[in-house]
């Protein structure tokens, strides 16, 4: 496979790099995210998540349904810390 098959557009990670990580033993989405930053960009894994799971499935032989997804945590999209601070100031003690 060619090197320029893009899996993670946000962090520019190729299919070859993902397959290399899986063969090194990083066989969950969460591990691959932590070591490569795939899924940590603006799309938060909405684009690459499925593609990475498919690669894990094809290399490990595990079915898609048996594989674990990313841990989902807020915020779902990027937000400036200054906006959060401003929100806290305006809302007073409730924040």
């Amino acid at each position: 496979m060619s090197k320029n098959t893009t899996i993670c557009r946000c962090s520019d990670i190729s299919k070859e790099e993902i397959r290399e990580l899986i063969s090194q033993g990083y066989t969950t989405l969460e591990e691959i995210k932590r070591i490569s930053r795939a899924g940590m960009g603006p799309c938060q894994g909405r684009t690459c998540g499925q593609l990475i799971l498919r690669e894990i499935s094809s290399i490990t032989g595990k079915k898609m349904g048996e594989l674990e997804n990313f841990n989902n945590r807020p915020p779902a999209i990027g937000i400036k810390i200054s906006d959060i601070v401003k929100g806290a100031e305006e809302n007073g003690k409730n924040c």
Binding site: N4, N72, D83, K86
Partner: protein, 364 residues
């Protein structure tokens, strides 16, 4: 913190119908959407709908939005609409955080309907990041919302209903569709759409995938290859076609991340597009007072999304103490409408998928 009775996240077909249903039951609603126009995907659906009269059959998606917004207008004193507002987080203590332009807002609703829809699936093939390779949703947005032609010669990847309908819309806009391909051995969409396109001279190649895209600064060619019944590439079957647009229409996957943050149970159900929340017949998830409607609860057509919205809105309002005068009659009607929309042989997969996520019926 703003006080909210019912928060609806997403103002597409499901969210708009949920809002109408809940507010006509007497609940006060906050409806948020990340876009600056309401209607979700409906605003780019210039084609007429199938289904029956109750789901606005023979009406164009763009006109359905107008009908629904006119209905919402009648209840405007009880609906707070926040456009340009993205839900960021759903927390254990019931708080939901929203980003509205540059404002960070916290709300604590009594019930929530998540109607976030779905996102497009993508494909991994060499040079899949070349300019000119779009999702079908992006092509529809360019053409039908902004009036911009995406290019001149198109390869459509995916012969489901979206792929077929967008192909036809491209032709109406004067763009040449060189071919439609699908990895599956059969066309996934309705045959009436497929025949219409074939009559106009566009070949539909089933059991074909994209082997690679070729181009220096933008897409110039696509290389196709046949696959066998085990989805393996058949050597020597490559064909090259000159295209400057590749439109990827290989299905959608539910946008469940807010539900997963909250800890709602989800299951992997490929028939419904991927990870899907489990729910009861009222469209309430595994967590009390968190409801779902539309594609986020399993990818289907917009007609089903609207009926699911009406049903979830009715039941969510009831759950927080606002029972519609015709509650029982309406609920029965919505459930029957969903049954009839999913009755045909082409809905076998959908029915099989729903059987995996529907929890035992509750007494209401």
């Amino acid at each position: 913190m703003e006080t909210v009775e019912l928060l609806i996240i997403g103002a597409g077909p499901a969210g708009l119908c949920a809002a109408i249903s809940a507010v006509s039951s007497g609940a006060k609603v906050m409806l948020v959407d990340r876009n600056d126009t309401l209607g979700g995907q409906l605003i780019k659906q210039t084609h007429m709908f199938f289904g029956s009269e109750k789901q606005y059959a023979a009406t164009r998606g763009t006109d359905i939005t107008k009908i629904l917004l006119a209905e919402i207008e009648k209840y405007k004193e009880n609906i707070k609409i926040y456009k340009n507002t993205t839900a960021l987080g759903m927390y254990e203590d019931g708080v939901v955080t929203l980003a509205r332009n540059d404002k960070y807002i916290k709300v604590k609703p009594k019930a929530i309907i998540v109607a976030t829809g779905a996102s497009e699936k993508v494909l991994a093939f060499p040079n899949n990041d070349l300019p000119g390779i779009y999702g079908a949703g992006a092509v529809q947005t360019l053409m039908n919302v902004y009036g911009v032609k995406p290019g001149n010669k198109v390869l459509m990847v995916g012969a489901g209903n979206i792929g077929l309908i967008v192909s036809y819309q491209l032709m109406q806009a004067g763009v040449k569709v060189e071919a439609i391909i699908d990895a599956a051995p059969e066309i996934g969409g309705y045959l009436v759409h497929a025949s219409k396109i074939r009559r106009l001279g566009v070949p539909i190649y089933t059991s074909h995938i994209v082997k690679e895209a070729i181009g220096l600064d933008y897409l110039e060619k696509a290389v196709l290859i046949e696959v066998d019944e085990k989805w393996q590439k058949v050597r020597g079957t490559e064909k090259e076609i000159d295209v400057d647009v590749m439109c990827i229409s290989v299905g959608l996957t539910p946008l469940t991340e807010l539900l997963m943050q909250k800890g709602c149970e989800v299951k992997y159900v490929p028939e419904l597009g991927g990870l899907v929340p489990t729910r009861n017949e009222n469209y309430e998830t595994s967590i009390d007072n968190i409801f779902v409607a539309g594609d986020v609860s399993g990818v289907e057509e917009a007609s089903a999304a609207m009926v699911e919205g009406y049903l979830a809105g009715l039941c969510a309002a009831d759950k927080i103490g606002f029972r519609h005068d015709d509650f029982k009659k309406l609920k029965k009607d919505y459930i029957e409408q969903l049954h009839s929309l999913r009755a045909g042989p082409e809905s076998d997969k959908i029915r099989g998928g729903i059987a995996k996520i529907e929890r035992r019926a509750q007494d209401v």
